[in-house]
Symmetry: C2
DNA sequence: GATTCTATCTCGCTG
DNA sequence: CAGCGAGGTAGAATC
């Protein structure tokens, strides 16, 4: 991987390095004292301070401070980056349409400007997702309940797609909502919406059960389940 | 802002720079070819590729590729970072408990190692949030409906806290759920939970209305509102 | 620490 | 393109 760094570049040298770097498909990192303004879905201003600005070749911009996982300001992938010297200061501008959003980072001083030729052929292999939980349940439906027979996944209802749709031992319809982690009231609402939608579209006689499958539930979620006549079955996303 | 960069440091020099940097409270950026493993709430592996590793003094770790807003791997603030040379390679390890999570970044090569003395006294001033929408509605309740009188915010119900609670012209109870942007079915479910909870806890005679206040709604959300007998009033989070 | 909910959520998928 | 739901969501407020 190629990497270059300029220390205390002039605003013009910084501008050129930013433009050349983005042109070459590099990731560019600008470190220095700056002010930031954002206008789009919301709007924000950020007074002077030391930060890192990461500009990616896919149009992402990230302004990071010394704290937190999240950037203090950013632009999503797909934006157009530009750099210029305005009033003797490096100004990086990033914008997109739909929705219209603009980010301006104005540097009082640039302490360092780095370029990185970042190429990454590898793909992240992630385990323990909801997809893994679904696979587990389909492989071994008895995890939900003895006699449970899955009939479809992502079955459409007027309220959205049901994770796993099937029938129980007695022939009742079963709607399963999967969650990879401990669930709160929102998941109960989701399951409830699916069950109600199916009940509206079915014969009076048909019994439709709703089962939330997750590692655990909060107290309030459990209360909501009880109120709605829904069930909970504890299952981990991956076997222990 | 102080910034230093080492080009193609030896693993030992890189390790020392990482440890010294973190010790000094700097943000450390390691650029190079690496592999990443994560184990915690889920687990993941990432094969060799060029990436940037940002280590923050608050215990945050971010692994960024050339694409995307999100880091491909990370650790949240509060983790303990460590660096060592293992089998001739720089290995950065970051871990925390509750939940137990570990991240390992093993560098085949380190192209550049930078340290940044990042100090940021400024606070982000953000506008257009749900808090702004709430302020707007409380300042001018007629935005919801002529005669609407807010009586409480964050009023507790068995199903959670209601954004704005009040009464209408006719003395009916009104539950308002605020959303800063266009809403889908989830917000309807949320409002519905609050309304149902209040109905259960109130006299038969009391009429309880649920009003979703947001810039707009999706079609499915509108259908759900109709089914539940809930209402929608369009309001922007900030005046146009 | 656990729970609940917001977020410029982001991301991926589907129509 | 919009809508819908997952996410190692993170972050904040509250209990």
């Amino acid at each position: 991987m190629d990497a270059t760094a300029l220390s205390d570049p002039t605003p013009a040298a910084a501008r050129d390095a930013v433009l050349d770097g983005l042109d070459a498909g590099d990731v560019v990192c600008v470190a220095g004292r700056c002010r930031v303004t954002y206008e789009g879905r919301a709007s924000s201003t950020l007074g002077p301070g030391d930060r890192l600005l990461l500009l990616k070749p896919d149009g992402t911009a990230l302004v990071h401070t010394a704290e937190g996982h999240q950037p203090v300001n950013w632009q999503p992938p797909g934006c157009d980056h530009d750099a210029a010297v305005v009033d003797g200061e490096l100004v990086v501008h990033s914008s997109r349409s739909t929705p219209a959003e603009e980010l301006d980072v104005r540097f009082e001083t640039v302490a360092q400007l780095s370029r990185y030729a970042v190429t990454d052929p590898a793909e992240l292999a992630l385990e323990g997702t909801e997809a893994d939980l679904k696979r587990r349940v389909l492989d071994e439906p008895a995890l939900v309940e003895r006699g449970f027979e899955p009939r479809a996944t992502e079955r459409e209802t007027p309220a959205g797609a049901v994770d796993v749709y099937g029938v129980d031992e007695d022939g009742n319809t079963v709607v399963v909502e999967l969650k990879r982690r401990r669930v709160g009231p929102d998941a109960v609402g989701q399951l409830s919406r699916y069950v109600e939608a199916l009940r509206r579209d079915s014969h009076e006689a048909t019994r439709i059960r709703g089962i939330l499958v997750a590692p655990s539930v909060t107290d309030r979620a459990r209360e909501l389940l009880a109120e709605k006549g829904l069930e909970f079955v504890p299952v981990e996303p991956v076997a222990e």
